[in-house]
């Protein structure tokens, strides 16, 4: 092939592959459903469109799957409402009237924070897609009264209090977009520190910052030890940065292309996964408690095969919460081979949480990884999670309508959870249990020790 032809071919191929990646996301992720919720809030819970409206439509369960999945997901589980409901009787006795779904109490203690819902906004890092929208995300989450995570490398890449780029918020702006909009007793912020953030003592900076101090005193700040993430367990954080940023960060991260020698638009920036043994982790957790006695300590774990031993350490060290991110978890950047081949699916992680509960481990567990609706939350709780973290749904929602989009999406999700929990004859999150769930698949039913619904 002549050179111009090769170039043309490459260009077409690159546009096609980008379009293919976008199409795959649109097809495999419930973008439309989330967009509707972000636009219309709880109005979006009913499947009416301009063509069918109430009174004219005939509706029933969709029995098809959008796509055959490679591995089992929470969508292969269903909730099993009973007709006999002693807990509904209790609630009726309390209220002196028949209870409705609006009577469900969703307030949950998540890792030392009071949350209005059993839901948190998952930690998002320095990647632009999350970072540029982060002030609206923070405001939306604060107004909804749920905890929010702040991921790795934000301060190191975008500056702690001084902007590295005029159009991008700093770490502190992102933090206070959330803290300034908290009202009432709900919420809390969970701050990660990568190996590279540790170089700059991010946590010490936060802990000694007079502006943050009142929130530390109120117990609204947690530090999260990140042990990998769903999309790339065992690999460090990855993103791309401009040459200017790359030059500044050169000493702290790994850059395959040296920004001082190679001239290109964007540079891959890798951070280290961090080396752990059980002893190192234990030492690190204790040091954290020592250094920051007034901060809560969370752990975020990727979908590792040794989750259960990790849960034991967390439980023994009285960690405030352990968040587990399944392999379907979202990411701003991850090698395709990692997305395809690394780690336990979210449902398998939930099984490990269930094992931990059976073993009597007490740590609160938060599950994440392609979870996006109220059904996912209630199913995760039924199998032992204390709460669930959403990531991508919030990014879509904020894209649709800013902070209002986040609130709308949460309103819809909240009503879903109320309906599902009340349908189980229960009115408190903590009452939802394994008896409330069944499996559409026999193997899965056996593995999870729940009924196979056709048996």
């Amino acid at each position: 092939m002549s050179e111009p032809l090769t170039k043309l071919f490459m260009k077409v191929a690159s546009v096609r592959s980008a379009a293919a990646a976008g199409r795959t996301f649109l097809e495999s992720y419930p973008v439309d459903e989330i967009v509707q919720k972000a636009k219309y809030g709880k109005e979006a819970l009913y499947p009416f469109s301009d063509l069918d409206e109430y009174g004219r439509a005939l509706l029933g369960a969709d029995i098809s799957l959008k796509q055959a999945t490679r591995f089992s997901t929470l969508d292969e589980l269903v909730l099993l409402p009973p007709i006999f409901t002693p807990k509904r009787l209790e609630k009726m006795t309390d209220l002196g009237r028949e209870p409705y779904f609006s009577d469900v109490d969703l307030e949950t203690n998540i890792g030392g924070f009071r949350s209005r819902l059993p839901l948190t906004l998952a930690s998002m890092g320095s990647t632009e897609v999350a970072h540029s929208q982060s002030p609206h995300l923070g405001k939306g989450a604060a107004e909804a009264g749920i905890p929010m995570g702040l991921g790795e490398n934000i301060a190191t890449v975008w500056g702690y209090a001084t902007r590295q780029k005029a159009s991008m918020p700093t770490f502190k702006q992102r933090l206070f977009a959330y803290l300034d909009h908290l009202h009432g007793p709900h919420g809390g912020v969970v701050i990660q520190q990568s190996v590279e953030d540790a170089f700059d003592e991010l946590w010490n900076k936060v802990y000694t910052d007079p502006d943050v101090e009142p929130f530390v005193r109120k117990g609204l700040v947690a530090f999260e030890v990140k042990l990998g993430q769903g999309a790339k367990p065992g690999l460090g954080g990855e993103t791309k940065v401009s040459r200017e940023v790359a030059r500044e960060l050169k000493g702290k991260y790994y850059f395959p292309d040296d920004p001082d020698k190679v001239d290109q638009d964007l540079y891959e920036r890798h951070s280290a996964p961090g080396t752990f043994t059980e002893e190192i982790l234990r030492g690190q957790l204790r040091s954290l408690r020592n250094h920051f006695p007034r901060a809560r300590i969370w752990i975020k774990a990727g979908p590792f095969r040794d989750l259960l031993p990790l849960f034991r350490v967390a439980s023994q060290e009285r960690i405030d919460a352990v968040l587990v991110d399944g392999k379907e978890g979202g990411t701003g950047m991850s090698p395709v081979i990692a997305l395809k081949d690394l780690g336990l699916p979210t449902l398998a992680c939930l099984k490990r949480i269930n094992d931990a509960r059976i073993e009597g481990l007490r740590a609160p567990f938060v599950l994440s990884g392609r979870l996006f609706d109220g059904g996912h939350v209630v199913k995760a709780i039924a199998l032992g999670a204390s709460a669930v973290a959403f990531g991508r749904p919030f990014i879509l929602a904020v894209g649709v309508g800013g902070a209002k989009g986040v609130r709308n999406f949460l309103e819809a999700t909240e009503v879903e959870m109320r309906m599902l929990i009340s349908s189980l004859g229960k009115y408190r999150v903590g009452d939802v249990g394994q008896e409330d769930i069944g499996s559409l698949d026999r193997h899965l039913a056996d593995a999870l020790n729940v009924p196979f619904v056709y048996a």
Partner: protein, 330 residues
């Protein structure tokens, strides 16, 4: 000493140029100078060499509770201001054997420390290190030093101290030694539960200190509660060969010391407890890889010693230009 809040009165620190001329403050400063001489007299007599302290370097002690290190721009790269000179102590014990320096330290402490009466952002500690010594040797050394210095204070400084109406204990070595586990038990017996594995919090430390009338040691802290450089017992994994000396009567921590980890492979695993990339500690790790002798040592804060000897309410009364967390002052 029963003051629940050791915060400086508003505006007090801003006008330190005035307070240094108070006759009482002048006495404190003269006592402080005499304590410095007594420390040098003891250590020089024991064959120690006094060195000039380092002030800045690529890394400093990360094992400081909650405090942040101060960073300076060193020709485009970062240097830390010493939060403690621990790494340099090991460097110099490998050269001269028995060494010490009067080391100025800066620790940007959390704001909550402004009211403990025991924390300064800028202070001086006498840093002592001895090659070949065990932590038992270091405890005996610490005890001798404190006994010598307080003895001198009672004798030579008797007249000055009379002004503070101070009856000073601390002459009668050996001091009582209790383990970390004992300390937790004593606290638990008084209804103060401290979870195992955590350094004793400040208010509990003060309470414990009030239960004693002479200085006393707490030793064998669990791993994770102290810096990465405190050596682990070989036969008791998870327990460190380290100690604190506490002043009695609520004055609290005087000295922190330990036998040092000096083997490269152990240090690099322990360093991960800080969550950092060990590459940050390049020169130190290179030094360990090439080999240094085992050593033990400790640091004794000069302002805290002065506070104890003079019986002052708070440590910021023991420095002419005190810096307290969050307060901008001369």
């Amino acid at each position: 000493m029963s003051e629940p809040d050791g915060s400086p009165p508003p505006d007090y620190l801003r006008t330190s140029y005035r307070h240094v001329r108070d006759p009482r403050m002048q006495k404190v400063l003269r006592v402080q100078a005499a304590l410095g001489s007594a420390i040098r007299e003891y250590l020089d007599g024991q064959g120690f060499t006094e060195l000039l302290p380092p002030i800045i370097g690529p890394v400093a002690d990360p094992g400081v509770r909650g405090a942040k290190q101060a960073t300076i721009n060193f020709y485009g790269r970062e240097y830390k201001v010493m939060s403690s000179a621990i790494l340099y102590k090991q460097m110099m014990a490998a050269s001269l054997g028995k060494i010490y320096f009067f080391s100025p330290n800066v620790r940007l402490e959390p704001l909550e420390t402004a009211s403990t009466g025991r924390h300064l952002v800028e202070f001086v500690q006498v840093d002592i290190e001895e090659a070949g010594a065990t932590y038992g040797d270091a405890m005996r050394r610490a005890e001798d030093l404190v006994a010598h210095v307080t003895g001198r204070a009672r004798g030579r400084l008797g007249k000055e101290l009379a002004a503070f109406e101070r009856r000073l204990n601390g002459g009668a070595a050996p001091y009582e030694r209790i383990t970390y586990d004992d300390a937790l038990r004593i606290l638990a017996d008084h209804g103060k539960e401290v979870p195992y594995g955590v350094e004793i919090p400040w208010s509990e430390e003060e309470f414990l200190s009030k239960q004693f009338h002479e200085p006393f040691f707490i030793y064998d802290y669990p791993r994770g509660s102290r810096g990465f450089y405190d050596r682990e017992h070989q036969d008791r994994p998870g327990i460190l060969k380290d100690f604190d000396l506490l002043y009695p009567e609520g004055y609290g921590e005087a000295i922190s010391g330990a036998e040092r980890e000096y083997e490269y492979a152990k240090v690099i695993a322990r360093l991960r407890e800080t969550g950092e990339n060990p590459s940050k500690y390049e020169w130190y790790l290179d030094m360990l890889r090439e080999g240094i002798p085992p050593s033990s040592g400790f640091g004794i804060g000069v302002e805290r010693l002065t506070r104890y000897v003079c019986g002052l309410k708070a440590v910021w009364e023991a420095r002419p230009y005190p810096k307290v967390a969050g307060v901008f002052s001369p």
